[in-house]
Amino acid sequence: MMVQALQRYLHRYSFAGFGIAAILILLCAVLASCGSYVPSQGGQSQTTPTSIPVFTPSPTQAQQAQNCGKVDTLLNGQPVDSNQARLAGNCFWQAFQNCQAASLILKEHSLDTGADHTFTLKGTNGTCSIMDSVRHYIVPNNLNTTRSYTCSGLVMQADGLHFIACGSLGNIIMPMTSAPAS
């Protein structure tokens, strides 16, 4: 229905053939490169593939980065605020699917260490990239190093956003839900 409506609209302006082709190419590119969110049985969901989308031309070079907010985690890795985590995760996921500039902060805690990740999504020269600038620290903040890594992909799963192959850090999960009680 939507395509027919678009066809009617574009036909009215006498460039229906070119317009539909362009829209379909763009839609195919988005679906093929970003993957689609496919809920599966048991509440699990996954996306494929995980590679960074490639767009021509780059749609977001001149756009201002969207701030998707901050996700703080507990000592068991679960989000302090699940609602906030869902909003932030979905915001970044949407931005990723559209290759729009965005940022997201993830704060992780362990027994006496922590890591603050700042994920940045950028579209540059027709290519989307995810950068993780991570500050590792040992409480009380005496050891403090910051490094940046490029992640090779992003996957939305039931437990949250999975940042894939972020350098030597490997995969990083940004939790979006609290696990059920054990």
Partner: protein, 397 residues
């Protein structure tokens, strides 16, 4: 898409040599006491292991830990179960030093294996605020030093103060990343740190909160599977597990510039959450395995978390240089067995008053003179001690 390599780094602190004074017992040998800072050329070779970035960064390590336990909060003295636990925790630290746990730390220059170190004394501290900042903790330690509860460290500090908080006390210092066993927002289960005393010496301490069920439930609500501690563990096991983590880190990286990996932290952090048990005599203790770079390299990453090894691990190179004098000093520590631990002290942090535990003093004297008693040797032992104290005070002036 892009090679996963760090695009920017914060360099490790520059290596430097610190000169410590003193007199060496060995002819024409430099004075070697306690923390040693030695720059050693880095060398390649060998397998990288799973954590090649875990390296020696030039700072001091504690070669022969002098361990003090200190129990903060009213529950330790008001509740018999807590008092018993305090005794067990002090015994844990005695046993830890005398266990094969120390064999893992020897590779980093901390002692030379089992028996490297001494347990000196326990103390109880009352009238502490229920919510502490790290600065407040350092203030109480400094007050304790001034009052004679804790020793003023030597220039080459070996002191390791392990502070156990009771259930009434938490740490709430979010600007430092420290929220421990507070009603909300916990960020850690323990930590170690150091500060310079007013006399200018480095004082190392570790904080072990109560780690009661309520603390765990708050920190890991709903599911503790992702936590490094678990509700199915006893509170004592949680405490000793965290204490072993902090003890290993405070000896191998007392000033946060010795052994660590900038991405993965110190030797305890890499194996965080693992539990193992050590047996010392009739006692079994829960501990956390520590990162062993030696095993990581020799197995090329297959094995790297160990709580104990049969023999002392060989010292790594580059690392703090092996010191004959330090090893000799550790062997001499056995001669202190009859003198240690010293009697327990009580410190009122509000009144700045120090007292000694009656029973602890009596037990200490009995142990010191066994199988005799002081009255077999002198008629007025307390008078003798008073005169000795007066004499020492006069000499000090």
């Amino acid at each position: 898409m892009v090679a996963p390599t760090p695009s920017s780094t914060t360099p490790n602190p520059p290596q430097k040599r610190l000169a410590y004074g003193g007199v060496s017992p060995k002819l024409r040998a430099p004075a070697l006491r306690g923390q040693e800072v030695v720059s050693v050329p880095r060398s390649g070779g060998g397998n990288p292991g799973a954590f090649p970035s875990f390296v020696y960064n030039g700072g001091p390590v504690i070669t022969c830990p002098w361990v003090y336990t200190s129990f903060w909060g009213p529950d330790w003295l008001s509740d018999p179960a807590h008092l018993q636990t305090a005794g067990l925790l002090s015994q844990f630290h005695k046993d830890l030093i005398n266990s094969s746990f120390m064999n893992v730390l020897s590779q980093y220059g901390v002692g030379s294996g089992t028996g490297s170190g001494i347990f000196v004394q326990a103390s109880f501290v009352s009238n502490v605020a229920t919510s502490l900042t790290d600065a407040a903790i350092q203030g109480i330690i400094q007050a304790g030093i001034n009052a004679g509860v804790y020793p003023e460290p030597a220039a080459n500090s070996q002191t390791c103060l392990i502070i156990y908080l009771d259930e009434t006390i938490g740490v709430n210092d979010p600007t430092q990343g420290l929220v421990l066993c507070e009603p909300t927002g916990d960020t850690a289960f323990g930590y170690h740190n150091f500060f310079l005393t007013t006399a200018g010496h480095s004082f190392q301490y570790a904080i072990i909160p109560a780690l009661a069920d309520a603390c765990l439930t708050e920190s890991c609500p709903g599911n503790d599977a992702g936590c490094s501690l678990h509700l199915y563990e006893s509170q004592l096991d949680r405490r000793t597990q965290v204490a072993s983590h902090e003890f290993a880190e405070m000896t191998t990286d007392p000033q946060l510039n010795a052994w660590y990996d900038p991405n993965n932290g110190e030797c305890g952090d890499i194996c965080n959450g693992e539990t193992d048990y050590i047996v010392v005599g009739s006692n079994t203790w829960a501990v956390q395995p520590q990162y062993s770079k030696y095993d990581d390299e020799t197995t090329n990453g297959a094995i790297y978390c160990l709580s104990q090894t049969p023999n002392a691990e060989p010292r790594l190179s580059p690392g703090p240089a092996s010191r004959t004098a330090a090893a000799a000093r550790m062997r001499q520590m056995a001669s202190y067995d009859s003198l240690l631990p010293l009697p327990t002290l009580h410190f009122d942090a509000r009144a700045n008053a120090v007292t000694m535990d009656n029973q602890s003093v009596q037990d200490y004297v009995n142990k010191l003179f066994a199988p005799l008693s002081p009255t077999h040797l002198m008629t007025d032992f307390p008078g003798f001690l008073r005169r000795a104290a007066d004499t020492l005070a006069a000499v000090k002036k």
